[in-house]
């Protein structure tokens, strides 16, 4: 009974710790040629656990998310769209290189710092076409970069439930713009 209570307590009372281990250095939204562009700089630093996991052949998935919402004073904000892109970081033991893949593109790096720099730099990402938005209305963009725990192998998902080492995420950063 004690064991049951303990497990229940662990399961129920320990929500995943949200440590904002990725700092947002800068973030801005620019409208250029009918496109809403996102420029941002994140400072990522993988901890020892994650680095070891990577070197042990476990791929890590990073997700850049940008939620575009329209504030409404009378109700919850309207969710307009979500832009998201994913980076897959893996270790190539044969060549002792890191590989970052996003969509069809992939690049290899010799050091982890290069990988962190690549993922942390968001350069003129088109998040939405201005034509899809109402002109003259204020919109909010919430930008966030995080490690996708759900894509980890299951044992590590269990680990992630209990350990904060497995949580790597930035605070949502809000930017307002008027198309």
């Amino acid at each position: 009974m004690l064991l049951a209570a303990g497990v229940a307590a662990v399961l129920l009372l320990c929500p995943p710790a949200r440590a904002d281990t990725i700092a947002v250095d800068s973030a801005e939204v620019r409208i250029e040629d009918d496109e809403v562009l996102l420029n941002a700089q994140f400072a990522i630093s993988l901890n020892a656990t994650l680095e070891e996991a990577l070197q042990r052949g476990i791929p890590l998935y990073f997700v850049l998310e940008a939620d575009v919402t329209r504030p409404r004073w009378y109700w919850l904000d309207e969710k307009v769209l979500r832009f998201s892109t994913q980076y897959r970081v893996s270790w190539l033991p044969l060549t002792r290189q890191y590989r970052v893949a996003s969509g069809l593109l992939s690049q290899t790096f010799d050091t982890l710092q290069e990988v962190e720099r690549l993922i942390g730099r968001v350069n003129s990402r088109v998040i939405v076409r201005a034509g899809e938005l109402e002109r003259g209305t204020r919109y909010d963009v919430s930008v966030r970069l995080r490690l996708d725990v759900n894509q980890l192998p299951k044992p590590f998902q269990v680990n992630a439930l209990a350990s904060r080492d497995w949580h790597l995420a930035s605070e949502p950063h809000r930017i307002s713009f008027v198309p």
């Binding site: 064991l3 049951a4 209570a5 497990v7 229940a8 399961l11 129920l12 995943p16 070891e52 996991a53 042990r56 052949g57 476990i58 190539l92 033991p93 044969l94 060549t95 590989r99 290899t108 725990v149 759900n150 894509q151 192998p153 299951k154 044992p155 590590f156 998902q157 269990v158 680990n159 992630a160 439930l161």
Partner: protein, 713 residues
């Protein structure tokens, strides 16, 4: 129990929670073993499982709390339920815990057994072998590139032809010449990987400009490639630096093998790294399974226990109802097992009890009715009835008995017959008579007619006594009746008959006797000498007088014996009638006192016969005081309730005691002369008027009291 959470609902909630948990647990177990399933949201699934198990545990805890509350309240059947729960729990928990412990141990051991330093080293070695093979190929390619670069450096031919020739000589797969900035100058080779070959990376170009060679293995989706970038330094110093890139595919077989080694190493590393997490995962799944199993088992145990013990509670309730006298409860029979049979038997028993009680009630009512009937009969009997037990103690006396004896017989209930005389002296003769009756008859039935003095009145009582044989309660019964009136009536009737016959028989010869005597006197008058004539005259005179007296006597008898003539009554004022009659006794006026009330005292009666009554009474008074010097006649008339009361008193000798009882019988007289019919006639006439006559001795002489009912207007 709150209406929201009845045990029925709890059962459904329990069932739902258990089913959901089972499904979630199945998914979890499948997902734990299968990498593809729930690759995303595995933690959510885990949480869902945890929540469901938690809900299950909460339900069980709630159930157990309910059970404890019932135990504390002492609800019947809850102890059995608790014991059953304990048993079920023991049966479920012990094997569950055992299997759980063994499984956790087993999983820990088997996961550990997957890992081995030798395997680790072998895989590492394989990887190194792969690397060595690739390095050797890379070195070959670098040599190839060096040869092509040398050939290009020595020649002055156009790039294209020179590169084609050199590449062919070296047997290169793809060789491309680039400007230091990255622009393509020429391409050659046995097979080109792409139409426009990938330019060398900026870093490689930079290194080439610094006269350094770059060799690398490129992993592409289509396979492994070897890339060598070298600077091409022309002999001609004026010529600008060029960069040569040679790309060779790794042979397909080798590439595949290397890839296998790499993925094998990666998988092994991953599992090795995650072994603790894996153990934790399996342990968690097992724990959840155990908790689900235990929760379901406990919940089911409570529900089943309550189901088992519920009929007991119902039976207890029924028993309590029966104890309180309520036989109408019927417990529903819900099962076909022994408990069901027990419930049925209980219902049958209750029904029988109810029948028995109804029957009992009926017979009791019948007895009551019979008793009431008997009592009413006894109460309406004019005869007195006394019931004694076998020790002659009075058990019951009916009201008539008390009326006849004029004694409070109810006070004597339970008193033995021998004590009656002591407790109520007036009853001593009666008690003696009863005792004597049973004594002389030796418990047989007996009957006797006795004379008793009741309240100064002599009564004739007919008594019958008998032993009640064969009765459930042995005892004796005495029935007695006041037959005074009956005896009197019989006597009256007998005397009336005698008087009537006598009058008839005597009256007939009287007239011839009188006539004969008178004729004798007439015929012999003048024929006899004076002495004889005188004798005859005296004799005939005596005869006539005596005959006259005899006629009078016979008339009196006739009056006495005359049957009453109903329907000739009229309103009579007793005062006027009395004055009328007393006028005839004017000579006695100085000795007469008369007390009359104001107004008329009217009764229904026959004036002539009432006159007769008054005359008779006056005559009696005169006769009683024949020799007295100062006779006295006190007559008073009054109203008493609905009756007129007339009292005649004189100052004579009064009635002798032996006469009082029979004074109204004919020929009972104290007078030397007289028919003895006077009071008999008075009594008869008064009776005919519905009145009463009583005789007693007053202050100085006899007193006669007449009572007549007053006429109603």
């Amino acid at each position: 129990m709150s209406p929201l959470l009845t045990s029925g609902r709890v059962r459904w909630v329990l069932l739902a929670a258990a089913s959901l948990s089972a499904i979630a647990l199945f998914l979890l177990a499948t997902a734990s073993a299968n990498t593809a399933l729930f690759a995303r949201g595995y933690d959510t699934l885990l949480l869902l499982n945890g929540v469901l198990v938690g809900v299950l545990i909460l339900i069980v805890v709630w159930q157990l709390l309910q059970l404890r509350r019932k135990l504390k309240r002492g609800v019947f059947g809850s102890r059995l339920a608790a014991r059953l729960v304990l048993l079920f729990a023991l049966v479920a928990v012990l094997p569950g815990a055992l299997v759980y412990a063994v499984s956790v141990q087993f999983i820990g051991r088997s996961i550990e057994s997957w890992f081995d330093v030798r395997v680790d080293r072998a895989l590492e070695g394989g990887l190194n072998v792969g690397r060595a093979a690739l390095d050797s190929l890379l070195k070959d390619t670098a040599d190839k590139a060096g040869r092509i670069a040398n050939a290009l450096a020595e020649t002055t031919d156009p790039y294209g032809a020179a590169l084609a020739r050199a590449a062919e000589q070296a047997g290169a797969f793809e060789a491309a010449l680039y400007a230091p900035t990255g622009g393509v100058l020429a391409i050659a080779g046995t097979g080109q990987s792409t139409a426009t070959p990938e330019p060398p990376p900026a870093q490689a170009l930079r290194r080439a400009r610094l006269q350094q060679e770059t060799t690398e293995i490129v992993q592409r989706d289509e396979g492994l490639w070897l890339r060598v970038v070298v600077p091409v330094n022309s002999d001609d110093r004026l010529q600008p630096l060029k960069v040569l890139q040679v790309i060779e595919p790794v042979p397909r077989g080798l590439a595949q093998e290397v890839e296998k080694v790499q993925s094998g190493w990666r998988d092994y590393q991953e599992i090795s790294f995650s072994r603790d997490a894996l153990k934790r995962l399996y342990a968690l799944t097992l724990t959840l399974t155990l908790l689900l199993a235990l929760g379901s088992a406990l919940g089911l145990a409570v529900v089943l226990s309550e189901r088992f013990s519920a009929p007991l509670g119902l039976l207890a309730e029924g028993t309590r109802a029966v104890a309180e006298g309520d036989f109408t409860r019927r417990q529903p029979v819900v099962s076909t097992d022994e408990l069901g049979i027990l419930t049925e038997s209980f219902n049958a028993m209750t029904a029988q009890l109810a029948d028995a009680r109804a029957h009992n009630e009926e017979s009791r009512q019948a007895i009551e009715t019979t008793r009431a009937y008997l009592e009413s009969i006894l109460g309406s009997l004019s005869a007195g009835v006394l019931a004694f037990d076998d020790q002659y103690r009075l058990r019951t006396a009916n009201p008539s008995a008390a009326v006849i004896l004029q004694q409070p017989l109810a006070d004597l209930t339970g008193a033995p017959l021998a004590d009656w005389g002591r407790r109520l002296p007036a009853l001593a003769p009666f008690a003696e008579l009863v005792a004597d009756g049973f004594r002389t008859s030796r418990d047989g039935p007996w009957q006797k007619e006795v004379s008793l003095s009741v309240g100064n009145l002599a009564r004739t009582v007919l008594m019958r006594g008998t032993r009640i044989p064969g009765a459930p309660v042995p005892g004796y019964v005495v029935v007695f009746d006041d037959v005074s009136e009956l005896v009197q009536a019989q006597r009256d009737a007998a005397w009336a008959e005698v008087a009537r016959r006598l009058a008839h028989e005597i009256k007939n010869p009287l007239t011839p006797i009188q006539l004969s005597a008178e004729r004798l006197a007439v015929k012999l008058e003048g024929r006899l000498d004076p002495a004889d004539a005188e004798t005859v005259k005296r004799g005939t005179s005596t005869i006539v007088n005596q005959v006259q007296a005899m006629k009078q006597m016979v008339d009196d008898f006739a009056i006495y014996a005359r049957t009453p003539r109903p329907g000739q009554l009229q309103a009579v004022d007793l005062s006027a009638l009395l004055l009328d009659v007393l006028a005839l006794y004017d000579n006695l006026r100085p000795h007469t006192s008369l007390a009359l009330p104001d107004g008329a005292v009217v009764i229904q009666g026959e004036p002539t016969r009432l006159r007769q009554v008054f005359h008779n009474l006056m005559q009696n008074a005169i006769d009683a005081q024949a020799g007295a010097e100062s006779p006295r006649f006190a007559i008073s008339l009054g109203r008493d309730g609905g009756e007129a009361r007339l009292v005649f008193e004189d100052a004579g000798e009064g009635f002798p005691a032996d006469i009082v009882a029979r004074a109204f019988e004919p020929y009972v007289t104290t007078k030397a002369k007289g028919t003895g019919l006077g009071l008999a006639i008075v009594k008869k006439i008064v009776d005919e008027h519905g009145g009463r006559v009583t005789l007693d001795n007053g202050a100085r002489g006899a007193r006669v009291t007449l009572t007549f009912p007053l006429a109603t207007r």
